[in-house]
């Protein structure tokens, strides 16, 4: 199936959960990333149980603390 991750098409096997995608994509600081699936937030408690479907769009939103 095709999953669009941060705007790029990626091929993954069926049944992949959001948690597994975070691991496969080597997300930095995986415990502190915010995930949206088709523009909706995925609550952290649901990362393990949310199974991705063909055509899903996933975004990773990262903490950026700098500025001064």
């Amino acid at each position: 199936m095709t999953v669009i991750v941060a705007g790029k098409k990626k091929e993954y096997e069926e049944g992949l959960t959001v948690k597994q995608l975070i691991e496969k994509e080597n997300v930095e600081n995986p415990l502190y990333v915010t995930v949206t699936l088709n523009d909706e937030f995925v609550q952290s408690a649901n990362l393990e149980t949310t199974v991705l479907k063909d055509g899903d769009e996933v975004e990773f939103l990262y903490f950026m603390g700098g500025g001064r």
């Binding site: 937030f41 939103l61 700098g66 001064r68």
Partner: protein
């Protein structure tokens, strides 16, 4: 307010824009913008807002200029080392445009002082360098119904978003529930930041303020704009309001401002 010949000339490149015009320039000259943090993000934002003729610019920062600031904080110069950042910033702003009224706050924002500081401003820019301050600004602006633009930068990346009351758009806490534990996410001091990134994102924040004031175009409400300098990717990511948000939902769990603990090693930047 009638424009002087000098003002007409100074702002001529604004006035000629159909999205700004005489009306928009007048709005800018009557506007009050607060910049929290006179550093990487605050520096370009303050310079451009002063150049734009924003009538009153507040600038808050408790620190003095340090040599390590000068790689990115372009509002300060080498002779300013040791001087309060807000004073150095004020001098630079007035040198560009003596018409603007600069109000300085040589203090860190806390749950005790922030509501009082932001209350007289039309728009707030978050140019701080730590999560406790970023959450405090978000919460105070949401509770005080004050439009603001959040931004963050690290390494070769940056991001920003805008919140305006009554627009049903997400706040910073909708996206990031609470500050990460100390040292869980690196700071610029630990991880570094490319100087021009502060320039790019700080200028985008200044543009959000100018667009809010003049009504030009669309604001970054309901989206997070991210920029990766290494891949040249600008991305506008759609974000929606979190119905369980601690501060902006219908029944918020947080009703008082919180001073989160700050990693001490990063207090001085």
């Amino acid at each position: 307010m009638a424009f002087t010949n000098e003002q007409l000339e100074r702002y001529s490149r604004h006035i000629i824009l159909k999205e700004v015009g005489v009306k928009g320039q007048k709005k800018l000259m009557e506007a009050k913008v607060l910049i929290i943090g006179a550093g990487g993000l605050g520096a370009p934002a303050a310079l451009y807002l002063a150049a734009a003729g924003v009538g009153t610019i507040g600038i808050a920062d408790a620190d003095d200029v340090d040599l390590s600031n000068l790689q990115r904080q372009v509002i300060h110069s080498t002779p300013d080392i040791g001087k309060p950042k807000v004073e150095s910033a004020k001098e630079s702003m007035l040198a560009i445009n003596p018409d603007v009224n600069v109000i300085t706050y040589k203090e860190f924002i806390t749950s005790k002082n922030i509501a009082e500081i932001i209350k007289d401003y039309d728009f707030v820019l978050d140019g701080t360098d730590n999560f406790p301050a970023k959450f405090l600004i978000n919460d105070a602006c949401v509770m005080g119904e004050k439009p603001f633009c959040h931004a963050g930068i690290i390494r070769f990346k940056g991001q920003l978003m805008t919140w305006v009351p009554g627009e049903n758009a997400p706040c910073y806490r909708c996206v990031f529930k609470e500050p990460p534990p100390k040292d869980a996410v690196p700071t610029c001091k630990q991880a570094g930041v490319i100087g021009a990134m502060a320039g790019v994102i700080g200028c985008l924040q200044a543009l959000e303020a100018v667009k809010y004031i003049t009504g030009a175009g669309e604001l970054l409400t309901g989206s997070l704009l991210t920029y990766d300098a290494l891949t040249n990717d600008f991305r506008k990511i759609k974000i929606s309001k979190n119905t369980n948000c601690g501060v902006c939902s219908d029944n918020p769990a947080i009703t008082e401002l919180i001073d989160y603990e700050q990693a001490e090693c990063d207090f001085k930047s």
